[in-house]
C-alpha cells in the first residue's frame, strides 16, 4: 500500500467514527451529559498527548504541564474577553474563527513560556528536571492567582475569584476534530527527521550529539511543542467551562495528566487516547467518592507497574492500516517504520 493510500484509509476510519458519534447523538444515545464527558476526555487527550511528546518521546520528566495549560487558558480567555468587549456575541459565526485565533495565541504563549523555562531547566535530567518543572508549574499558578490588574477596562486575571465573562464554547464536534488535528501533527512530527532526533535524545543523548543531532535545540523544540499543545488544551478547557478557576491548575492536575501518559504507554499516542478514555469514564463513576479518586489512581498505577510496566500499549501505536493488513492475512512485516501496530 502506498503512503497516501494508508493516510486515506486512516482518515476514512476517523470520518466513520465521527459519523458514528453523530448518529448516536442524533438518536439521543449520547445525551448532553455524556457529550460533556467526551469533551473533557478530548481535552485530556490533547493535554496528555502533548505531555507524551516531552516525557514519552523526548524522555524528559516534566511535571509542570498544568502550568502551561493555565497560561493557555488565560491567554485564550483574554482574547475572547477582548472580543466580547468589542461587541461580538457567541451567536456570531465569526466567533469560531476568533476561537481558532485565540487557541493559536494560547499555544504560542504557552510555547514562549516553554522556551523560557526550557532553556535553564533542560540542563537538568531526570528527577531534578521533574522538580524544577514542578516548581515552575506552581510559580505560574500562584502568579496568576495573585495577579489582578485592570486592562482594557476589565480585571485580568481576576485573581482567586477566577476569570469569567468571555466568549467561547466547546462542542463535541469541535473537540473531536481538534483532537484529530493535534494528534496528527504530533504523529507527523514524530515520524520525521525531527522526531527521530527527539527519539535519539531519549535513547542516548551523548550518542545523539555524537552523530550530529543538535540536542540542545531539539530538547527545547520538543519541550516548546509540548507546551504549545498544552496551551491549546488549556484554551479548550477555558472555552468549555466558561470560567477559569486558578485553583484547578495545581500540581495534582499535572499528575493526573502524567498518569494518563504512563498508563497509556510512554511513547504511544494511541495509548494516550485509550488511557484518557478509561480514566475519563472512571472519573465519572468516582465523583461520588471524590476524596478516594487519587487513591484509586495510585492503586491502578501499582497494579499496572506489576503486570504491564510499559503501559497499556507500550511504545506501540494502534494503526487501522496495520489492523486491515493483519485481517487480510498479509502478515505485515513492519517494513516501514510507520506501520508499527498493536501486538
Amino acid at each position: 500500500m502506498k503512503k497516501w493510500q494508508e493516510y486515506s484509509v486512516t482518515f476514512g476510519g476517523i470520518v466513520l467514527l465521527f459519523i458514528l458519534f453523530e448518529v448516536l447523538m442524533a438518536q439521543g444515545i449520547i445525551n448532553n451529559y455524556v457529550s460533556g464527558v467526551l469533551v473533557l476526555i478530548g481535552i485530556n487527550i490533547i493535554a496528555a498527548a502533548s505531555l507524551n511528546l516531552a516525557t514519552g518521546y523526548l524522555g524528559q520528566l516534566a511535571l509542570g504541564h498544568a502550568g502551561f495549560m493555565a497560561i493557555g487558558a488565560y491567554s485564550a480567555a483574554f482574547v475572547m474577553k477582548v472580543a466580547k468587549i468589542n461587541g461580538f456575541q457567541n451567536s456570531d459565526g465569526i466567533v469560531v474563527g476568533l476561537m481558532i485565533v485565540a487557541l493559536i495565541f494560547a499555544g504560542v504563549m504557552a510555547a514562549i513560556f516553554g522556551i523560557l523555562i526550557g532553556i535553564p531547566a533542560l540542563r537538568l535530567r531526570g528527577d531534578y528536571l521533574g522538580i524544577v518543572t514542578l516548581g515552575f508549574g506552581e510559580i505560574i499558578r500562584i502568579a496568576i492567582f495573585n495577579l489582578d490588574f485592570k486592562v482594557m477596562g476589565f480585571q485580568f486575571t481576576g485573581g482567586a475569584r477566577g476569570f469569567r465573562g468571555y466568549l467561547g464554547y466547546m462542542s463535541f464536534e469541535m473537540i473531536f476534530w481538534l483532537v484529530i488535528i493535534v494528534l496528527a501533527i504530533l504523529y507527523l512530527i514524530i515520524r520525521s527527521r525531527h522526531g527521530r532526533a527527539i527519539l535519539s535524545i531519549r535513547e542516548d543523548e551523548i550518542a545523539a550529539e555524537a552523530v550530529g543531532v543538535p540536542t540542545t535545540f531539539y530538547k527545547i523544540f520538543g519541550f516548546a511543542t509540548s507546551a504549545f499543545f498544552a496551551g491549546i488544551a488549556g484554551g479548550c478547557l477555558a472555552f468549555y467551562q466558561k470560567m477559569i478557576d486558578p485553583k484547578k491548575f495545581t500540581f495534582m492536575y499535572s499528575v493526573e495528566i502524567f498518569i494518563i501518559v504512563v498508563l497509556g504507554g510512554m511513547g504511544s499516542l494511541t495509548g494516550t487516547i485509550v488511557a484518557a478514555i478509561i480514566l475519563g469514564i472512571l472519573n465519572e463513576f468516582l465523583h461520588v467518592i471524590d476524596q478516594w479518586r487519587l487513591v484509586i489512581y495510585s492503586a491502578l498505577l501499582i497494579i499496572m507497574m506489576i503486570f504491564r510496566p510499559e503501559g497499556l500499549l507500550g511504545s506501540k501505536e494502534f494503526s487501522l492500516v496495520g489492523l486491515i493488513k493483519k485481517v487480510m492475512g498479509k502478515k505485515s512485516s513492519s517494513k516501514s517504520s510507520d506501520a508499527q501496530e498493536v501486538k
Partner: protein
C-alpha cells in the same frame, strides 16, 4: 595539508594535567592507532577532539580549520565522528532508524514540511533518499536483513558493527574508534579487523583508533602513537613501537 592536526593540545582537571603537549597530525586515508596503558588519557584525547571537553591549552585543526569551541554536533558536520568504548546505540529503535538518525544533518526539510507532506515536496525526496542510503550502508556490512530489528536485540559483535556503520553514515573524513574490539572474542575481533580494512578500502576516510588488543593494533595500523600520563612517549611504525624501550617500560614498568 594534514587532515587533522593538534598543536600543543592539553587539558587539566583542577591541578591534574590529563593530557599535555599532545601533537599529532593525521593525513588523508591513514589508519593510526593510539595506544597506552590504562588511564593514560586516550579517551580524554578523543573527548577533546570531538568537543566533549574543551581543552585548556592548544588547538585542534580539522582540514586546516580550528574546531575549538564548537559543540560536538557541529564537529560532526565538519567531518569527524566517533564510536564509544561502551556501546551507545539507540537501543529501542530499529537498526535502520539508528543509521537514519546519523543522516540528520544531511537533510534540510523543515518542521512545516514534516507536518504538511504534500506530494513532491522535499520530505518525500529526502526520506526516500536516506532510506536507500541507509539500507545500502547496512548492506555493505551485511546487516540489511536485520534492518527492522531493534538495536538492543543484536548480538554484541553486530552492535559494535552497527555503531561503526552509524558513525560512517554521517560521512566523516576522520573516524575515531574507541576500543572497537573491547569485549569481543577472537573470532569477532578477526571480523572487526576485516571490517576496518574494508572501511579503509571503500570509504574515503582516515581512522584513528584506540585499542588494547595488540594483535589487532599491530595487524592493521600503519602508524602508532603511544601515550602515557597524557604525554606522547613514542610514535612510529608498529615494528618500531614493539621494540621501543619507553613503551615496554610504560606497559611493564621499568
Amino acid at each position: 595539508m594534514a587532515l587533522l592536526e593538534t598543536k600543543n593540545l592539553g587539558i587539566s582537571f583542577g591541578g591534574l594535567k590529563a593530557v599535555d603537549e599532545f601533537e599529532i597530525s593525521i593525513d588523508n586515508h591513514e589508519l593510526v592507532g593510539l595506544i597506552g596503558p590504562n588511564g593514560a588519557g586516550k579517551t580524554t584525547i578523543f573527548n577533546l577532539l570531538t568537543g566533549v571537553y574543551q581543552p585548556t591549552q592548544g588547538d585542534v585543526l580539522l582540514g586546516g580549520e580550528s574546531i575549538i569551541g564548537l559543540t560536538p554536533n557541529q564537529i560532526v558536520k565538519k567531518g569527524l565522528t566517533r564510536t564509544f568504548q561502551n556501546i551507545r546505540l539507540f537501543k529501542t529503535l530499529t537498526v535502520l532508524d539508528n543509521v537514519k538518525i546519523a543522516f540528520h544533518h544531511k537533510m534540510t526539510y523543515g518542521v512545516s514540511n514534516s507536518i504538511l507532506r504534500f506530494p513532491g515536496t522535499k520530505y518525500w525526496k529526502e526520506e526516500k533518499q536516506i532510506e536507500e542510503k541507509a539500507l545500502e550502508l547496512l548492506a555493505l556490512f551485511n546487516m540489511e536483513h536485520q534492518a527492522y530489528q531493534l538495536a538492543q536485540n543484536l548480538p554484541y559483535g553486530e552492535q559494535r558493527k552497527l555503531e561503526i556503520a552509524r558513525a560512517l553514515a554521517a560521512e566523516p573524513k576522520l573516524l575515531l574508534l574507541d576500543e572497537p574490539a573491547a569485549g569481543m572474542n577472537p573470532q569477532e575481533t578477526h571480523e572487526l579487523m576485516e571490517n576496518i580494512h574494508f572501511i579503509r578500502n571503500n570509504f574515503d576516510v582516515s581512522i584513528l583508533l584506540i585499542e588494547h588488543d595488540m594483535k589487532l593494533v599491530m595487524g592493521i595500523c600503519e602508524r602508532l602513537i603511544v601515550i602515557d600520563y597524557g604525554m606522547i612517549i613514542a610514535q612510529g611504525l608498529p615494528e618500531e613501537i614493539r621494540a621501543n624501550k619507553k613503551v615496554i617500560g610504560a606497559y611493564l614498568g621499568n
